[in-house]
Symmetry: C2
Subunit: 200 residues, 2 copies
Protein backbone atom coordinates (compact mmCIF):
# COMPACT_ATOMS: atom_id res chain seq x y z
CA UNK A 1 0.00 0.00 0.00
CA UNK A 2 1.17 3.46 -0.98
CA UNK A 3 1.31 6.68 0.99
CA UNK A 4 -1.36 9.07 -0.34
CA UNK A 5 0.01 12.46 -1.41
CA UNK A 6 -2.64 15.14 -2.05
CA UNK A 7 -1.60 18.29 -3.88
CA UNK A 8 -3.14 21.29 -5.63
CA UNK A 9 -1.13 22.87 -8.47
CA UNK A 10 -2.10 26.33 -7.20
CA UNK A 11 -1.04 25.61 -3.61
CA UNK A 12 2.21 27.25 -2.59
CA UNK A 13 3.32 24.69 0.00
CA UNK A 14 2.35 21.80 -2.30
CA UNK A 15 5.16 22.96 -4.59
CA UNK A 16 8.18 22.11 -2.37
CA UNK A 17 6.40 18.94 -1.21
CA UNK A 18 5.96 17.77 -4.82
CA UNK A 19 9.61 18.49 -5.60
CA UNK A 20 10.87 16.73 -2.45
CA UNK A 21 8.62 13.71 -1.94
CA UNK A 22 10.33 11.29 -4.34
CA UNK A 23 13.71 11.53 -2.60
CA UNK A 24 12.24 11.38 0.91
CA UNK A 25 10.04 8.38 0.05
CA UNK A 26 12.72 6.46 -1.82
CA UNK A 27 15.10 6.74 1.13
CA UNK A 28 12.56 4.74 3.16
CA UNK A 29 11.31 2.51 0.33
CA UNK A 30 7.84 4.05 0.48
CA UNK A 31 5.67 4.22 -2.65
CA UNK A 32 3.62 7.32 -3.34
CA UNK A 33 0.07 7.58 -4.69
CA UNK A 34 -0.08 10.99 -6.40
CA UNK A 35 -3.50 12.61 -5.96
CA UNK A 36 -4.08 15.92 -7.69
CA UNK A 37 -7.15 17.73 -6.35
CA UNK A 38 -8.59 21.22 -5.82
CA UNK A 39 -8.68 23.25 -2.64
CA UNK A 40 -11.30 25.61 -4.12
CA UNK A 41 -14.38 23.49 -3.31
CA UNK A 42 -13.00 22.72 0.16
CA UNK A 43 -12.31 26.39 0.91
CA UNK A 44 -15.79 27.24 -0.41
CA UNK A 45 -17.29 24.84 2.16
CA UNK A 46 -15.37 26.80 4.81
CA UNK A 47 -16.89 30.06 3.56
CA UNK A 48 -13.85 31.31 1.64
CA UNK A 49 -14.02 32.43 -2.00
CA UNK A 50 -10.27 33.04 -2.24
CA UNK A 51 -7.03 31.70 -0.78
CA UNK A 52 -6.78 32.39 2.98
CA UNK A 53 -3.40 33.93 2.14
CA UNK A 54 -5.22 36.63 0.16
CA UNK A 55 -8.10 36.98 2.65
CA UNK A 56 -5.70 37.49 5.60
CA UNK A 57 -2.94 39.87 4.38
CA UNK A 58 -0.55 39.45 7.35
CA UNK A 59 -0.69 35.69 6.90
CA UNK A 60 -0.17 36.09 3.15
CA UNK A 61 2.88 38.34 3.52
CA UNK A 62 4.37 35.85 5.92
CA UNK A 63 3.64 32.86 3.66
CA UNK A 64 5.55 34.32 0.70
CA UNK A 65 8.60 35.04 2.82
CA UNK A 66 8.42 31.66 4.56
CA UNK A 67 8.14 29.85 1.21
CA UNK A 68 11.12 31.78 -0.12
CA UNK A 69 13.21 30.76 2.91
CA UNK A 70 12.03 27.14 2.65
CA UNK A 71 12.90 26.85 -1.03
CA UNK A 72 16.32 28.30 -0.27
CA UNK A 73 16.94 25.70 2.45
CA UNK A 74 15.88 22.88 0.11
CA UNK A 75 17.63 24.41 -2.93
CA UNK A 76 14.41 24.52 -4.94
CA UNK A 77 14.11 27.35 -7.50
CA UNK A 78 11.28 29.75 -6.73
CA UNK A 79 9.85 32.94 -8.20
CA UNK A 80 6.70 34.40 -6.74
CA UNK A 81 3.88 34.05 -9.33
CA UNK A 82 2.41 37.34 -10.49
CA UNK A 83 -1.08 35.84 -10.08
CA UNK A 84 -2.12 33.79 -7.03
CA UNK A 85 -3.85 31.44 -6.83
CA UNK A 86 -3.95 30.35 -10.46
CA UNK A 87 -6.84 28.22 -11.71
CA UNK A 88 -5.50 24.68 -11.53
CA UNK A 89 -8.52 22.66 -12.62
CA UNK A 90 -7.24 21.58 -16.05
CA UNK A 91 -3.88 20.43 -14.69
CA UNK A 92 -5.59 18.63 -11.79
CA UNK A 93 -8.02 16.84 -14.13
CA UNK A 94 -5.06 15.54 -16.15
CA UNK A 95 -3.28 14.41 -12.98
CA UNK A 96 -6.47 12.64 -11.87
CA UNK A 97 -7.20 10.99 -15.24
CA UNK A 98 -3.62 9.78 -15.69
CA UNK A 99 -2.74 9.10 -12.04
CA UNK A 100 -1.03 5.81 -12.88
CA UNK A 101 0.77 6.91 -16.04
CA UNK A 102 4.56 6.53 -15.99
CA UNK A 103 4.94 10.19 -17.08
CA UNK A 104 2.62 11.57 -14.37
CA UNK A 105 5.26 12.61 -11.82
CA UNK A 106 7.34 14.46 -14.39
CA UNK A 107 4.21 16.19 -15.69
CA UNK A 108 3.30 17.29 -12.15
CA UNK A 109 6.75 18.78 -11.65
CA UNK A 110 6.61 20.53 -15.03
CA UNK A 111 3.32 22.20 -14.08
CA UNK A 112 4.71 23.31 -10.71
CA UNK A 113 7.79 24.76 -12.39
CA UNK A 114 5.56 26.60 -14.89
CA UNK A 115 3.61 28.20 -12.00
CA UNK A 116 6.30 28.76 -9.34
CA UNK A 117 9.48 29.21 -11.38
CA UNK A 118 8.51 30.49 -14.84
CA UNK A 119 5.41 32.48 -13.77
CA UNK A 120 3.29 30.98 -16.53
CA UNK A 121 -0.50 30.83 -16.43
CA UNK A 122 -1.30 27.17 -15.77
CA UNK A 123 -4.99 27.90 -16.42
CA UNK A 124 -4.02 28.37 -20.06
CA UNK A 125 -4.40 25.21 -22.18
CA UNK A 126 -1.33 26.04 -24.23
CA UNK A 127 0.87 26.12 -21.09
CA UNK A 128 -0.48 22.74 -20.00
CA UNK A 129 -0.03 21.41 -23.54
CA UNK A 130 3.63 22.43 -23.35
CA UNK A 131 3.99 20.57 -20.02
CA UNK A 132 2.44 17.47 -21.63
CA UNK A 133 4.74 17.66 -24.63
CA UNK A 134 7.75 18.03 -22.30
CA UNK A 135 6.99 14.54 -20.97
CA UNK A 136 6.46 13.08 -24.43
CA UNK A 137 2.67 13.16 -24.57
CA UNK A 138 0.33 14.21 -27.34
CA UNK A 139 -1.28 17.22 -25.70
CA UNK A 140 -4.60 17.32 -27.56
CA UNK A 141 -5.30 13.63 -26.89
CA UNK A 142 -4.45 13.85 -23.19
CA UNK A 143 -6.49 17.03 -22.65
CA UNK A 144 -9.48 15.52 -24.46
CA UNK A 145 -9.29 12.37 -22.34
CA UNK A 146 -9.02 14.38 -19.11
CA UNK A 147 -11.98 16.63 -19.84
CA UNK A 148 -14.62 14.22 -21.10
CA UNK A 149 -17.65 13.40 -19.00
CA UNK A 150 -16.19 10.27 -17.43
CA UNK A 151 -12.98 12.04 -16.43
CA UNK A 152 -14.90 14.93 -14.90
CA UNK A 153 -17.00 12.53 -12.83
CA UNK A 154 -13.86 10.70 -11.72
CA UNK A 155 -12.31 13.99 -10.69
CA UNK A 156 -15.35 15.06 -8.66
CA UNK A 157 -15.23 11.69 -6.89
CA UNK A 158 -11.55 12.31 -6.17
CA UNK A 159 -12.34 15.60 -4.42
CA UNK A 160 -15.12 13.91 -2.44
CA UNK A 161 -12.62 11.25 -1.37
CA UNK A 162 -10.31 13.98 -0.08
CA UNK A 163 -13.08 15.58 1.99
CA UNK A 164 -14.27 12.22 3.33
CA UNK A 165 -10.77 11.51 4.58
CA UNK A 166 -10.71 14.78 6.54
CA UNK A 167 -8.48 16.76 4.18
CA UNK A 168 -8.88 20.53 4.60
CA UNK A 169 -5.68 21.89 3.02
CA UNK A 170 -2.71 21.00 0.85
CA UNK A 171 -0.35 19.35 0.67
CA UNK A 172 -1.75 16.47 2.70
CA UNK A 173 -0.52 12.94 3.26
CA UNK A 174 -2.56 9.93 4.42
CA UNK A 175 -1.10 6.71 5.76
CA UNK A 176 -3.48 4.03 7.03
CA UNK A 177 -6.13 6.63 7.98
CA UNK A 178 -3.56 8.92 9.61
CA UNK A 179 -3.63 12.46 8.16
CA UNK A 180 -0.59 14.74 7.93
CA UNK A 181 -0.93 18.30 6.66
CA UNK A 182 1.70 20.54 5.14
CA UNK A 183 5.11 20.36 3.54
CA UNK A 184 6.44 20.45 7.13
CA UNK A 185 4.91 17.02 7.77
CA UNK A 186 6.33 15.25 4.69
CA UNK A 187 9.16 13.54 6.58
CA UNK A 188 6.89 12.50 9.46
CA UNK A 189 4.27 11.08 7.10
CA UNK A 190 6.83 9.02 5.17
CA UNK A 191 8.38 7.79 8.43
CA UNK A 192 4.93 6.82 9.77
CA UNK A 193 4.15 4.92 6.58
CA UNK A 194 7.50 3.10 6.54
CA UNK A 195 6.94 2.00 10.14
CA UNK A 196 3.51 0.67 9.19
CA UNK A 197 5.01 -1.33 6.30
CA UNK A 198 7.56 -2.90 8.63
CA UNK A 199 4.86 -3.96 11.07
CA UNK A 200 2.52 -5.43 8.44
Amino acid sequence: MSLQFWFDFASTYSYPAAMRIDAVAQARQVEIEWNGFLLGPIFKNQGWDDSPFNIYPAKGRYMWRDLERLCEVHEIPFNRPSVFPRNSVLAARIASRFSNAPWLVEFVKAVYRANFVDDLNIADGSVIAQCLRSVGMDAATAIAAATDRGAKALFRAQIDRAVQQGIFGAPSFISHGELFWGNDRLEQAVQWHARGLQQS
Copy 2:
Protein backbone atom coordinates in the same frame (compact mmCIF):
# COMPACT_ATOMS: atom_id res chain seq x y z
CA MET B 1 19.99 41.13 21.34
CA SER B 2 17.53 38.38 22.14
CA LEU B 3 15.27 36.32 19.91
CA GLN B 4 11.65 37.38 20.48
CA PHE B 5 9.33 34.51 21.44
CA TRP B 6 5.61 35.33 21.31
CA PHE B 7 3.17 32.94 22.97
CA ASP B 8 -0.45 32.75 24.09
CA PHE B 9 -1.24 30.51 27.08
CA ALA B 10 -4.40 29.31 25.31
CA SER B 11 -2.58 28.45 22.07
CA THR B 12 -2.06 24.75 21.50
CA TYR B 13 1.13 24.95 19.43
CA SER B 14 2.60 27.56 21.79
CA TYR B 15 2.68 24.83 24.43
CA PRO B 16 5.37 22.55 22.88
CA ALA B 17 7.30 25.64 21.76
CA ALA B 18 7.38 27.00 25.33
CA MET B 19 8.54 23.65 26.69
CA ARG B 20 11.25 23.23 24.02
CA ILE B 21 12.67 26.70 23.40
CA ASP B 22 15.14 26.81 26.32
CA ALA B 23 17.03 23.72 25.20
CA VAL B 24 17.03 24.66 21.51
CA ALA B 25 18.23 28.20 22.26
CA GLN B 26 20.89 27.20 24.77
CA ALA B 27 22.44 24.78 22.30
CA ARG B 28 23.16 27.78 20.05
CA GLN B 29 23.83 30.32 22.81
CA VAL B 30 20.76 32.35 21.88
CA GLU B 31 18.91 34.37 24.52
CA ILE B 32 15.13 34.47 24.50
CA GLU B 33 12.83 37.42 25.14
CA TRP B 34 9.59 35.88 26.45
CA ASN B 35 6.53 37.80 25.23
CA GLY B 36 3.16 36.67 26.49
CA PHE B 37 0.30 38.13 24.44
CA LEU B 38 -3.25 37.37 23.29
CA LEU B 39 -4.42 36.01 19.97
CA GLY B 40 -8.03 37.06 20.69
CA PRO B 41 -7.72 40.71 19.55
CA ILE B 42 -5.70 39.62 16.49
CA PHE B 43 -8.27 36.99 15.51
CA LYS B 44 -11.03 39.54 16.07
CA ASN B 45 -9.34 41.86 13.53
CA GLN B 46 -9.47 38.93 11.09
CA GLY B 47 -13.21 38.53 11.69
CA TRP B 48 -13.03 35.53 14.03
CA ASP B 49 -14.71 35.42 17.42
CA ASP B 50 -13.32 31.98 18.30
CA SER B 51 -10.25 29.86 17.58
CA PRO B 52 -10.00 28.91 13.89
CA PHE B 53 -9.67 25.33 15.16
CA ASN B 54 -13.23 25.59 16.50
CA ILE B 55 -14.57 27.54 13.51
CA TYR B 56 -13.21 24.97 11.01
CA PRO B 57 -13.97 21.50 12.45
CA ALA B 58 -11.82 19.43 10.03
CA LYS B 59 -8.84 21.64 10.84
CA GLY B 60 -9.59 21.37 14.55
CA ARG B 61 -9.82 17.58 14.52
CA TYR B 62 -6.52 17.45 12.70
CA MET B 63 -4.84 19.89 15.08
CA TRP B 64 -5.59 17.81 18.19
CA ARG B 65 -4.22 14.65 16.60
CA ASP B 66 -1.18 16.47 15.19
CA LEU B 67 -0.45 18.02 18.60
CA GLU B 68 -0.73 14.62 20.27
CA ARG B 69 1.76 13.13 17.79
CA LEU B 70 4.11 16.12 18.18
CA CYS B 71 4.12 15.91 21.97
CA GLU B 72 4.85 12.19 21.72
CA VAL B 73 7.84 12.83 19.42
CA HIS B 74 9.19 15.48 21.82
CA GLU B 75 8.28 13.49 24.95
CA ILE B 76 6.14 16.31 26.31
CA PRO B 77 3.15 15.28 28.48
CA PHE B 78 -0.18 16.26 26.95
CA ASN B 79 -3.84 15.86 27.80
CA ARG B 80 -6.43 17.54 25.66
CA PRO B 81 -8.08 20.33 27.70
CA SER B 82 -11.81 19.89 28.25
CA VAL B 83 -12.30 23.59 27.36
CA PHE B 84 -10.57 25.26 24.40
CA PRO B 85 -9.48 27.95 24.11
CA ARG B 86 -9.29 28.99 27.75
CA ASN B 87 -9.26 32.69 28.66
CA SER B 88 -5.58 33.46 29.09
CA VAL B 89 -5.68 37.20 29.81
CA LEU B 90 -4.73 37.07 33.52
CA ALA B 91 -1.77 34.75 32.92
CA ALA B 92 -0.64 36.86 29.96
CA ARG B 93 -0.83 40.09 31.99
CA ILE B 94 1.42 38.53 34.62
CA ALA B 95 3.87 37.34 31.95
CA SER B 96 3.89 40.86 30.46
CA ARG B 97 4.27 42.70 33.79
CA PHE B 98 7.06 40.41 35.00
CA SER B 99 8.74 39.69 31.67
CA ASN B 100 12.23 40.12 33.13
CA ALA B 101 11.67 38.35 36.45
CA PRO B 102 13.97 35.39 37.13
CA TRP B 103 10.92 33.20 37.88
CA LEU B 104 9.06 34.12 34.68
CA VAL B 105 10.03 31.10 32.57
CA GLU B 106 9.10 28.62 35.28
CA PHE B 107 5.80 30.41 35.80
CA VAL B 108 5.05 30.22 32.06
CA LYS B 109 5.71 26.49 32.05
CA ALA B 110 3.56 25.99 35.17
CA VAL B 111 0.61 27.72 33.46
CA TYR B 112 1.04 25.64 30.30
CA ARG B 113 1.13 22.45 32.36
CA ALA B 114 -2.03 23.56 34.20
CA ASN B 115 -3.84 24.02 30.86
CA PHE B 116 -2.42 21.21 28.71
CA VAL B 117 -1.53 18.53 31.23
CA ASP B 118 -3.73 18.98 34.31
CA ASP B 119 -6.80 20.36 32.49
CA LEU B 120 -7.17 23.23 34.97
CA ASN B 121 -9.00 26.45 34.19
CA ILE B 122 -6.24 29.05 33.77
CA ALA B 123 -8.90 31.79 33.65
CA ASP B 124 -9.43 31.08 37.35
CA GLY B 125 -7.40 33.34 39.65
CA SER B 126 -6.87 30.53 42.14
CA VAL B 127 -5.22 28.33 39.47
CA ILE B 128 -2.90 31.18 38.49
CA ALA B 129 -2.21 31.88 42.19
CA GLN B 130 -1.11 28.25 42.55
CA CYS B 131 1.23 28.65 39.55
CA LEU B 132 2.71 31.78 41.14
CA ARG B 133 3.21 30.06 44.49
CA SER B 134 4.90 27.12 42.72
CA VAL B 135 7.66 29.52 41.62
CA GLY B 136 7.99 31.08 45.07
CA MET B 137 5.89 34.22 44.51
CA ASP B 138 3.30 35.86 46.69
CA ALA B 139 0.25 35.41 44.49
CA ALA B 140 -1.90 38.31 45.70
CA THR B 141 0.94 40.82 45.29
CA ALA B 142 1.87 39.63 41.79
CA ILE B 143 -1.74 39.55 40.58
CA ALA B 144 -2.39 43.05 41.95
CA ALA B 145 0.75 44.39 40.22
CA ALA B 146 -0.20 42.75 36.92
CA THR B 147 -3.75 44.08 36.87
CA ASP B 148 -3.34 47.74 37.86
CA ARG B 149 -3.85 50.50 35.32
CA GLY B 150 -0.19 50.80 34.36
CA ALA B 151 0.19 47.07 33.81
CA LYS B 152 -2.95 46.95 31.67
CA ALA B 153 -1.65 49.80 29.48
CA LEU B 154 1.71 48.05 29.18
CA PHE B 155 -0.06 44.87 28.12
CA ARG B 156 -2.15 46.62 25.47
CA ALA B 157 1.03 48.17 24.08
CA GLN B 158 2.57 44.69 23.99
CA ILE B 159 -0.27 43.39 21.80
CA ASP B 160 0.06 46.44 19.52
CA ARG B 161 3.77 45.69 19.20
CA ALA B 162 2.94 42.15 18.09
CA VAL B 163 0.54 43.39 15.40
CA GLN B 164 2.98 46.06 14.21
CA GLN B 165 5.61 43.39 13.70
CA GLY B 166 3.27 41.40 11.46
CA ILE B 167 2.35 38.70 13.98
CA PHE B 168 -0.93 36.93 13.12
CA GLY B 169 -0.67 33.70 15.10
CA ALA B 170 1.21 31.91 17.87
CA PRO B 171 3.78 30.85 18.65
CA SER B 172 5.84 33.39 16.69
CA PHE B 173 9.52 34.23 16.72
CA ILE B 174 11.18 37.43 15.53
CA SER B 175 14.87 37.84 14.81
CA HIS B 176 16.08 41.16 13.41
CA GLY B 177 12.73 41.87 11.72
CA GLU B 178 12.45 38.31 10.39
CA LEU B 179 9.20 36.60 11.41
CA PHE B 180 8.84 32.86 11.97
CA TRP B 181 5.46 31.31 12.78
CA GLY B 182 4.70 28.05 14.51
CA ASN B 183 6.32 25.47 16.72
CA ASP B 184 7.60 23.96 13.45
CA ARG B 185 9.77 27.03 12.90
CA LEU B 186 11.42 27.11 16.34
CA GLU B 187 14.68 25.51 15.18
CA GLN B 188 14.89 27.67 12.05
CA ALA B 189 14.28 30.86 14.04
CA VAL B 190 16.97 30.03 16.60
CA GLN B 191 19.41 29.10 13.83
CA TRP B 192 18.66 32.36 11.98
CA HIS B 193 19.24 34.36 15.14
CA ALA B 194 22.48 32.56 15.98
CA ARG B 195 23.79 33.27 12.48
CA GLY B 196 22.94 36.95 12.92
CA LEU B 197 24.85 37.06 16.22
CA GLN B 198 27.93 35.55 14.57
CA GLN B 199 27.87 38.14 11.80
CA SER B 200 27.39 41.17 14.07
